[in-house]
C-alpha cells in the first residue's frame, strides 16, 4: 500500500508540466541503466514500450523477410496466411474488441473480393470489369464497399446481441452465397468463377516474375508489408478512444452509454471497420491464385475466421495473426499425417482420410482452445513469458 501523498486537485488547465505544445511534447530521455523508467507518458503509451518488444518485433520481421527465400509453394501459402491475418484482425475488431459475434465475415470478404475484381477487371472480358488495375484504387474501393455493407448490417447489431446477432449474421452468409451464385455477370457463376483483382502498383505487377524476384516472392513481400500496415493501424485503433469504447460496449453496454459512449454509433463503427478489413482481405486473397469461384464464400470460411480469432487470442492483434497463420498452415501440416500415422489415409475413398481430419480439426481446435486456453495462442505466449521471467521460481 502506498501512503496518500497530498491531495492533488483535478482543476482544468493547471498542470505544471503542460508547457507549450501540451504534456509529452518534450521528448524526455530515458536515464542510462534504467530501461524500464519512463519519464513521459508518450513512452508509456507507445506500442513498443519496452526494449524487449522492439527487439522481438525486429527479429520477427527480419525472419519474415528472410523467409522469402523459401520454395515458391510455401511462399504462396504464407502469403495467403498474411492475407487471412488481415481478415482475422478485422473480425477481431468487431467480435474480439467490440464483443459483437459475427458469423457473416465471409460475406464482407466476398463484397471486397468482387469489388476489387470488378474495378480492376478486363473491360472487354466475360465478366464485369472497369479496367483500373492500380492497387491504389481497387484496394481502398474494396475496403470502402465492404465497410458500407457493414454499416448497412450494423442496425441489426444495435437491436440484437449475443446468439441472436450470430444467427442473423449467419443468414447474411447464405444470402450472399445465393446472390453471388446467381449474379453471373459479376461472379462468373458457380463452378466457373472469374479472374481476381490485378495486383499492380505504379506499373509494377506483383503477380509476374520480375527482376526483383519470382511471382511468389513479390506477392509474399506485398502481403507482408500490407499485413504490417493493417496490423499497426489496428493496434492504434485499439489503444485509441474508439478501441476503448468498443471494449466498454463488450464489457458493460449500459455503463458505457451512461459514461458517454453512444452505443449505436460505435457498434456501427465496429462493423464498418471490421468489414473494411474483411473487404481488403477479400480483395487481396485471390490475387495469389488469380481466379475465384462464388462458392468460396460459405459458412466454412466464416468459421475459419472465427477459428483464427479464437485459436490466436480474442482481442489481440498479434493473436489474430498467429491464429490466421496457424489455421492457414494447418492443411499443409495435416497433409504430412499419412506418413506419420499409418491409420490415416491420403485416399479420399477411405476413412479416416486427411481431408476428413482437416475439416474436423477446426471444430476440435476451437473446442480445445476454449476449454483449456480461452486466451488462445496469445495466452500460451503470455504464460510462457511469465514462466521464464520468474524462472526458477514459480511466481
Amino acid at each position: 500500500m502506498t501512503e496518500r501523498t497530498g491531495q492533488v486537485g483535478v482543476r482544468p488547465g493547471v498542470r505544471p508540466d503542460s508547457g507549450p505544445g501540451g504534456p509529452g511534447a518534450v521528448r524526455a530521455r530515458r536515464p542510462k541503466g534504467r530501461p524500464l523508467l519512463y519519464t513521459a507518458y508518450a513512452q508509456d503509451m507507445a506500442l513498443l514500450d519496452t526494449r524487449a518488444k522492439k527487439a522481438g518485433l525486429a527479429l520477427l520481421l527480419g525472419a519474415a523477410v528472410l523467409l522469402s527465400g523459401l520454395p515458391d509453394d510455401l511462399l504462396v501459402l504464407l502469403a495467403a496466411g498474411y492475407v487471412a491475418a488481415i481478415g482475422a484482425i478485422g473480425l477481431n475488431i468487431v467480435t474480439g474488441y467490440a464483443g459483437q459475434v459475427s458469423l457473416g465475415h465471409a460475406f464482407f470478404v466476398a463484397v471486397g473480393a468482387y469489388t476489387a475484381a470488378a474495378v480492376s477487371g478486363d473491360p472487354g472480358g466475360r465478366t464485369l470489369g472497369f479496367g483500373i488495375t492500380s492497387m491504389l484504387v481497387w484496394l481502398p474501393a474494396a475496403g470502402a464497399a465492404a465497410a458500407l455493407a457493414g454499416v448497412l448490417v450494423a442496425p441489426l447489431a444495435a437491436r440484437l446481441r449475443g446468439l441472436y446477432l450470430a444467427i442473423v449474421t449467419l443468414g447474411l452468409v447464405f444470402l450472399g452465397e445465393h446472390v453471388f451464385k446467381e449474379w453471373d455477370h459479376l461472379t462468373g457463376g458457380p463452378g466457373v468463377g472469374r479472374p481476381a483483382a490485378v495486383p499492380e502498383l505504379f506499373g509494377f505487377r506483383f503477380d509476374a516474375d520480375s527482376a526483383l524476384g519470382t511471382r511468389a516472392q513479390s506477392l509474399y513481400m506485398l502481403m507482408l508489408v500490407l499485413l504490417v500496415v493493417f496490423a499497426v493501424a489496428a493496434r492504434n485503433l485499439a489503444r485509441s478512444r474508439i478501441g476503448r469504447a468498443f471494449s466498454a460496449i463488450r464489457d458493460r453496454d449500459i455503463a458505457a452509454e451512461v459514461i458517454g459512449v453512444p452505443l449505436t454509433r460505435y457498434k456501427t463503427l465496429a462493423f464498418a471497420i471490421s468489414s473494411g478489413y474483411a473487404g481488403c482481405a477479400g480483395a487481396l486473397m485471390y490475387t495469389v491464385t488469380g481466379f475465384f469461384d462464388p462458392g468460396s464464400f460459405n459458412l466454412l470460411m466464416s468459421v475459419q475466421f472465427i477459428a483464427m480469432v479464437l485459436i490466436g487470442g480474442v482481442a489481440t492483434v498479434s493473436g489474430a495473426i498467429a491464429g490466421a497463420l496457424f489455421v492457414t498452415l494447418l492443411p499443409r501440416i495435416t497433409q504430412e499425417l499419412p506418413a506419420l500415422l499409418p491409420f490415416v489415409s491420403a485416399d479420399t475413398t477411405q476413412t479416416p482420410n486427411v481431408f476428413q481430419i482437416q475439416v474436423a480439426l477446426y471444430g476440435l481446435l476451437i473446442v480445445l482452445f476454449l476449454v483449456f486456453e480461452p486466451r488462445g495462442l496469445f495466452g500460451i505466449w503470455i504464460r510462457a513469458r511469465a514462466y521464464w521471467k520468474s524462472w526458477p521460481f514459480s511466481y
Binding site: 500500500m1 502506498t2 496518500r4 501523498t5 491531495q7 492533488v8 486537485g9 483535478v10 482543476r11 482544468p12 498542470r15 508540466d17 503542460s18 501540451g22 504534456p23 509529452g24 507518458y41 508518450a42 508509456d44 503509451m45 493501424a233 489496428a234 492504434n236 485503433l237 489503444r239 485509441s240 478512444r241 474508439i242 478501441g243 476503448r244 469504447a245 471494449s247 466498454a248 463488450r250 464489457d251 458493460r252 449500459i254 455503463a255 458505457a256 452509454e257 451512461v258 459514461i259 458517454g260 459512449v261 453512444p262 452505443l263 463503427l269 471497420i273 482481442a315
Partner: protein
C-alpha cells in the same frame, strides 16, 4: 426549503414532480428536489423506496411518465444517456459497473470519452490530434489516480481488484468525465469501516476541492447524516421529508418509514 441566499443562485439540478411507473407499480411518485452548486445532497429511504430509480431517471436510463428534470437549465428527459453524460452528469452504480477486462487506466480514460474530438481515421494512424489528445487525457487521468490514491493498481485489470478499490475506480471514472454533477449510488455499500472513512473523505474532497455538487444515495445513516447538507427521504417512491440532517432525523414520518410506526 432553505434560506434566501441559496435561492439567488440557479440550481444545478431541478427535479419537479417526477413520476415513474412500471405497469401498475409506482417506482417514483411525485418527487421534487433541487441541488444547489457545491451542495452535498443525499437521498435515503428503505429498500425499494425508489432511490436508484431516481438516479436512472436523471441519467436517462429510465424515462419518467410525468414531471421535468432540468440540468444546468436544460430539460434532459427524453435525451439518450450518452448525451446527458456529455452535458456533465456523471454517476456510479450500486453494483460496480466497471469494464472488467480493461485496466484501471483504461477505465478512467473511458470516462474522458466525450472530451476527445478525433475521429476513426486519426485513430488508425495515431497522428497529430489523436496522439496529442490521448497524451493530454492521460495527464488528466493521472491527476485522478493521484487524487484517489490508485497508483498501485494502474495497470491491473479491474476484475482482479478488491471490491473497495473497484468502488474507488468507479468513482475515478466518474471524476474523469469532469462532471458538473456527480451521482453516487451507495458508494460505501459492503465496505468496512476504514474503506467507508476513506470514501467519505474522497466525497468531501470532491465537493470542497473540485466544487462539484454531489447527490448521494446510501443506507449508511451515519455517513449520510455526517456528510450531507440536505437530505431527501423517500418511501415507496413518495417523498416523506426534505431538510437538513437534523430536521429529517426528528421528523416522525421518517422514523415511521424506517421503524414501521403507526400510519
Amino acid at each position: 426549503m432553505t434560506g434566501g441566499a441559496r435561492e439567488a443562485v440557479p440550481p444545478v439540478l431541478k427535479v419537479e414532480d417526477v413520476g415513474l411507473a412500471f405497469a401498475g407499480v409506482k417506482a417514483i411518485d411525485g418527487v421534487s428536489f433541487e441541488v444547489a452548486p457545491a451542495e452535498l445532497f443525499a437521498v435515503i429511504g428503505p429498500n425499494g423506496a425508489g432511490k436508484t430509480s431516481v438516479f436512472n431517471v436523471l441519467s436517462g436510463v429510465y424515462r419518467p411518465q410525468r414531471g421535468t428534470v432540468t440540468f444546468l437549465g436544460e430539460d434532459v428527459i427524453g435525451r439518450p444517456p450518452h448525451r446527458i453524460a456529455a452535458m456533465g452528469l456523471a454517476r456510479t452504480f450500486q453494483n460496480v459497473e466497471l469494464f472488467h477486462n480493461l485496466t484501471v487506466l483504461d477505465n478512467l480514460m473511458l470516462g474522458r470519452h466525450h472530451h476527445f474530438g478525433y475521429g476513426p481515421l486519426q485513430a488508425l494512424l495515431w497522428l497529430g490530434r489523436a496522439r496529442r489528445e490521448e497524451l493530454a487525457a492521460r495527464a488528466r487521468v493521472e491527476d485522478i489516480i493521484d487524487f484517489l490514491d490508485l497508483a498501485a493498481w494502474r495497470r491491473h485489470p479491474v476484475r482482479l481488484l478488491p471490491y473497495g478499490v473497484q468502488k474507488r475506480v468507479e468513482l475515478g471514472r466518474a471524476l474523469a468525465m469532469e462532471p458538473r454533477l456527480l451521482l453516487l449510488d451507495e458508494p460505501v455499500a459492503g465496505m468496512n469501516l476504514e474503506e467507508t472513512e476513506d470514501m467519505a473523505r474522497f466525497v468531501l474532497d470532491i465537493r470542497d476541492e473540485l466544487g462539484v455538487p454531489v447527490v448521494l444515495v446510501d443506507h449508511d445513516m451515519g455517513l449520510v447524516m455526517d456528510l450531507a447538507d440536505r437530505v431527501l427521504v423517500l418511501d415507496f417512491g413518495r417523498p416523506v421529508a426534505l431538510g437538513t440532517p437534523a430536521e429529517v432525523q426528528r421528523d416522525p414520518k421518517v422514523v415511521a418509514a424506517y421503524l414501521g410506526g403507526a400510519p
